[in-house]
């Protein structure tokens, strides 16, 4: 198949002979999730480099393959590479694989630079949805929200629709599509049109998903702004998870061997992979952080007991049995050690006064306390020159919970921010206004309390240890997006028509015809499956809430989550800030 790397892996690839791959560094993360170097080696990939300007490192290969995003600045680097290369070797072939799509603009740029003809192959590697976990797919399209709401550019939605078509080609036509928001409507329209264009070739696969739910991020601006309080959410808030990995301060991971004086502390940060393949992590990732300590201690007891077993091993057979289990037990031990250390690191922060104060203010806003006044805490944070993103996050939250800030309040914040952090941030504030994260209160009516009450977004007695409601992920606040998902499954959106009208964009339902014979005959008690697609990003706490719903005994619904980008309040606000060096693309 054309345009697909597997085709290269399969057919053309082998015939090429030896190769070196030059990677756009940004891509190595996502690609690391889907292929190992060992596999590439089987296909005669001898060397791999990161894309840098200047001369290509030497490598005794016949082919050089560039794996790049379609970015103009990268084209210039490639051109430089190709020029410097030509002088030394003349027999090497160049190839480009664009991820996820070819771009005329980029090819044009290569042509201007006079190197387009040097390429034997120009192709694309369609990588729309990257599997992050058993139930999680992400496009890792960082600028999707910015493009849709700030720049009015819907290319990301086109890729989304394409990705969903691919998914349907593999897992069957999804009979029901629900959605809320302008982007959701847009994606659904494109999907339906693409389906018409493919008419004639019936999809003969028994559908895996019963329902697709498309949700715009802008119908729920509040949730990502709040500090996530699940274990995984806090790891992301504090240290940032990128492509399934987290980098942690090394102090707590220092290995002290018995009898050895403590050596110098390691200075390089500790990198850990986080996914559900790790038994312990799967167990605790979605818990409220206040429940993690108990879970870790329970695990510790189990592992200790398992190691104690060796005393009971008397016969050779028993000893052999014990030894055979050692590797697994040691892995479990090292996993427990890691997570105990991480939990300690996080606890240091969550017990700090600064964290507590910040959370208090967030909860005040979410429950509607004093959202129409200048908040003293925000004011103090500005005076202390706390990070600007923290200020913006709180300010946006206040605005969202108050259906806009009063003019006096808005102007006061704005002046304080510009004076303290620099006038050029007027551009960032303007961006946040365009995305409706900040706005002036135009009507005296504040919808938020109505929405909060109807959807039960604030639960007084959130049970952090043994949750009975999704609100545990924010210790009281139930994420709006997930509440909508929950209501859709039961009793249905008809029951909340009024609230849906208060949220931006249309809500809709579409049906896709299935060929006869593919209708599922459901067994009694068999779960239905919904694919929830977050257009513009999703937070780990929201994912945790959906997993919680999947696991609830009587929910009868399983959720698979897909998104344009995994985000938290900080990365999200950052993506909306004005970057002086960037150009509009």
């Amino acid at each position: 198949m054309r345009g697909n790397p597997y085709s290269i892996l399969r057919g053309g690839w082998k015939a090429l002979g030896t190769q070196a791959i030059v990677w756009d560094e940004y891509l190595t993360g996502p690609f690391g999730l889907i292929a190992q170097y060992s596999l590439l080696k089987e296909h005669e990939v001898e060397k791999m480099f990161t894309l840098k300007s200047g001369k290509l490192p030497s490598a005794d290969v016949k082919n050089i393959i560039f794996f790049v995003r379609p970015r103009l600045e990268l084209m210039d680097i490639i051109a430089e590479n190709v020029f410097s290369e030509d002088k030394m070797h003349s027999s090497r072939d160049f190839h480009i694989l664009f991820v996820p799509r070819r771009s005329m603009l980029c090819e044009q740029r290569l042509k201007e630079q006079g190197v387009l003809a040097s390429f034997v192959n120009i192709d694309e590697y369609i990588l729309d949805l990257i599997p992050y976990d058993g139930d999680l797919l992400s496009m890792e399209y960082e600028s999707a929200f910015r493009e849709c709401y700030l720049e009015n550019d819907q290319t990301s939605l086109y890729h989304t629709a394409k990705g969903l078509m691919t998914l349907q080609a593999l897992y069957g036509t999804i009979p029901q599509i629900y959605g809320k928001g302008d982007c959701a409507r847009h994606v659904a329209n494109m999907m339906l049109r693409m389906k018409r264009e493919f008419a004639g070739s019936q999809n003969q696969i028994l559908p895996v998903f019963d329902t697709l739910l498309l949700l715009d991020r802008n119908i729920d601006l509040l949730t990502p702004l709040a500090t996530q309080l699940t274990y995984e959410g806090l790891i992301d808030e504090i240290y940032g998870i990128t492509n399934g990995y987290v980098k942690l301060p090394p102090e707590k991971f220092a290995q002290k061997k018995q009898g050895e004086a403590s050596k110098d502390l390691p200075t390089e940060s500790k990198k850990l992979q986080l996914n559900s393949a790790e038994e312990l992590y799967a167990e605790i990732r979605d818990k409220n952080f206040n429940a993690v300590g108990a879970a870790l201690s329970k695990k510790a007891k189990i592992i200790s007991a398992a190691f104690e077993e060796r005393h009971n091993a008397k016969t050779v057979g028993e000893i052999k049995q014990f030894v055979s289990q050692l590797p697994h037990m040691q892995a479990a031990r090292s996993s427990l050690a890691n997570h105990t250390s991480i939990a300690e690191l996080i606890k240091d922060i969550t017990t700090s006064e600064a964290f507590f104060e910040n959370l208090t203010v967030e909860q005040e806003f979410m429950t509607g306390v004093d959202t129409d006044k200048v908040n003293t805490y925000i004011e103090d944070c500005i005076a202390q020159k706390d990070p600007l993103i923290k200020i913006l996050r709180l300010m946006c939250m206040q605005s969202v919970c108050n259906n806009g800030l009063k003019q006096k309040v808005f102007e006061y914040y704005k002046r304080e921010i510009l004076q303290t952090y620099g006038y050029e941030h007027i551009l960032t504030l303007n961006n946040l206004e365009k995305a409706s994260l900040l706005k002036l209160q135009t009507s005296s009516r504040n919808n938020y309390p109505t929405i909060r009450k109807t959807l039960k977004l604030w639960m007084e007695d959130a049970n952090e240890q043994n949750p009975n409601d999704i609100s545990y992920v924010y210790s009281g606040y139930a994420p709006l997006s997930v509440r909508l998902t929950q209501v859709l499954a039961r009793p249905g959106w008809r029951s909340i028509e009024e609230v849906l009208k208060l949220l931006p964009g249309p809500h809709f339902e579409e049906r896709q015809q299935l060929p006869a014979g593919l209708h599922k005959k459901r067994q009694q008690g068999e779960n239905r499956t919904t694919l929830v697609f977050f257009l513009g990003g999703v937070s780990y706490a929201e994912i945790a809430a959906l997993r919680f719903l999947s696991q609830m005994e009587d929910s009868g619904m399983e959720y698979i989550i897909a998104t344009t980008k995994l985000l938290n309040g900080t990365t999200w606000i950052k993506s909306l800030m004005d970057r002086p060096e960037s150009q509009i693309s």
Partner: protein, 517 residues
């Protein structure tokens, strides 16, 4: 303005919602220690034979070893011959990425055995031959692929083929009508790449006037063309386009090339929101390094159609930079001259140019505190010109004077006289924050205690006083509370034979105090 501690506590006690707390007494986290201990004890237990690598290899958590990002640096770093086999752990061939997951709700478990047609492999089915293994979903071949030999494509079919990345020839679309049809189908497909390709063809084969005229009613396509022209630096055509779009007689000051593209984009995107256009031009200042040129540019910006609030901010920005240029020149000379004491004792760490307003105020409070109100660098003048809030001014001046250890200046900041001429200490900040700021600037205890004493709430005062070792305040507060027990307890913590200890003795022996305990 600050919520006092008492208020806060009151609030929490009566509040209907709980905050997220980690009480140290909390069982959950004392358990963390427990599990840590357990982990450690196990470690020693099995230490004899293991080294860490051993554990890494069998780890089921999917170690980073062998990952692409790891091997990129690895192979790039090694200059050895290609035949050297790097010591990667052997990843078994059928451990696709999806099968790594063991969560209860994995895609792979969902998708097993549900394929009907048999033509498609799901993510989970990993065939034994790794070369045909799938990692990501793959699109099936559309029917249309089988009729590739047909060359008489309609505009719609052509666009579809382009979307699929097939070779097409646009040359046969000769009439204007056909070309526009092609463009409209491309726009409807929402595929920027295809739109651009069609635009390149149209640009080549249509006269500018016709192209611009037709694009006026096709905003999406127009946006793509502008983007394309900007990226390919086609200045001439952009200018022509700009002229054709703007009302006649409109002139723009010092429009740079890139900016022009932005202006056009925003003209269209924002549907005439002139504020956005103004902000974009303003943004250009960030790319001007020379401060004089930047200042002049900002001055030019003042006439742009900003919203009224933004207009005031841009004016402030200009005024600020104008002053910074003057202050920087004067101070650099003063510093070089070596005659001004404060510059000798505290050499400037960096230039003040392009620093935020509050940083500039701090700088002026530091180096120009006593200047008369007429100068540009006088803090009070700055405060007035830029309408700095009382609190901000106070915090900044306090920090700057404390840094210089000018305690009399600090003191003067709080002094206000009432109509009888008595002085008393007043502060727009809570005294707790004041103490905090002073302490951060390493104020001595004698200074700190003056301000700790002014904290209203007794408990807060005691805890602050204890933290900063202001013994007198602790002792006096307990005395006022008639709390003998606490005094006794505190005495134990003090140094034997110190003045404070004696003071407590005296108090405890004073028969006139009626202790409450």
């Amino acid at each position: 303005m600050m919520k006092s501690k008492a208020d806060e506590e009151d609030y929490w006690n009566s509040s209907k919602f709980k905050a997220f707390t980690f009480d140290d007494e909390d069982d959950e986290f004392s358990r963390l220690k427990e599990s840590k201990r357990a982990v450690n004890s196990i470690r020693y237990l099995v230490e004899e034979d293991d080294d860490e690598e051993e554990v890494e290899k069998v780890s089921w958590s999917g170690e980073p070893v062998g990952s692409i990002s790891w091997s990129v640096s690895e192979t790039a770093a090694s200059n050895q011959k290609a035949d050297r086999e790097p010591a990667f752990p052997k990843v078994s061939a059928d451990s696709g990425p999806m099968s790594r997951s063991h969560s209860g709700y994995s895609l792979s478990s969902l998708f097993k055995g549900k394929t009907k047609g048999g033509n498609f492999q799901s993510l989970a089915d990993s065939p034994s031959d790794p070369s045909v293994r799938l990692y990501a979903p793959e699109l099936r071949k559309p029917k249309s692929e089988y009729k590739d030999y047909v060359s008489d494509w309609s505009p719609e079919e052509t666009v579809q083929r382009m979307q699929q990345g097939k070779v097409v020839s646009l040359e046969k679309f000769r009439s204007l009508q056909d070309k526009l049809l092609l463009l409209d189908y491309a726009v409807n497909a929402h595929d920027g790449n295809v739109i651009t390709a069609v635009l390149i063809y149209l640009k080549r084969t249509l006269s500018k006037e016709v192209l611009f005229r037709e694009l006026e009613s096709r905003q999406t396509a127009l946006r793509h063309l502008i983007h394309y022209l900007t990226e390919t630096r086609d200045q001439r055509l952009l200018l022509e386009l700009l002229r054709s779009l703007l009302p006649p007689g409109h002139t723009w000051c010092c429009v740079s090339f890139y900016l022009m593209g932005f202006i056009l984009l925003f003209l269209l995107r924002a549907l005439g929101r002139m504020e956005d256009v103004a902000l974009l031009q303003y943004k250009e200042h960030l790319s001007i390094a020379d401060e004089n040129r930047r200042r002049d540019f900002l001055k030019n910006c003042l006439s742009l159609p900003f919203s009224p609030e933004d207009s005031a901010h841009v004016q402030d920005h200009y005024t600020l930079l104008e002053r910074q240029v003057i202050i920087e020149t004067t101070d650099r000379q003063a510093e070089r001259g070596g005659k001004v004491e404060v510059f000798q004792k505290f050499p400037r760490k960096a230039s003040i140019l392009n620093m935020p307003m509050i940083t500039t105020l701090y700088y002026c409070c530091f180096y120009h505190y006593t200047e008369s109100e007429g100068t540009f660098s006088c803090p009070l003048n700055i405060r007035q010109t830029f309408k700095i809030s009382e609190k901000q001014y106070f915090v900044t001046a306090l920090a700057a004077r404390a840094k210089l250890k000018a305690w009399s200046d600090v003191d003067a900041l709080f002094t206000s006289r009432n109509w009888l001429g008595f002085t008393r200490k007043k502060s727009p900040l809570s005294f707790q924050r004041v103490v905090d700021i002073l302490q951060k600037n390493s104020a001595p205890t004698q200074v700190l205690q003056n301000y700790v004493a002014l904290v209203d709430d007794a408990e807060l005062r005691i805890s602050l006083a204890q933290k900063h070792k202001c013994h007198d305040i602790v002792i006096n507060t307990y005395r006022d509370l008639k709390d003998r027990q606490q005094l006794l307890g505190y005495q134990v913590k003090l140094k034997r034979g110190s003045a404070e200890e004696r003071k407590i003795d005296e108090l405890l022996n004073n028969p006139q105090i009626r202790w409450k305990n």
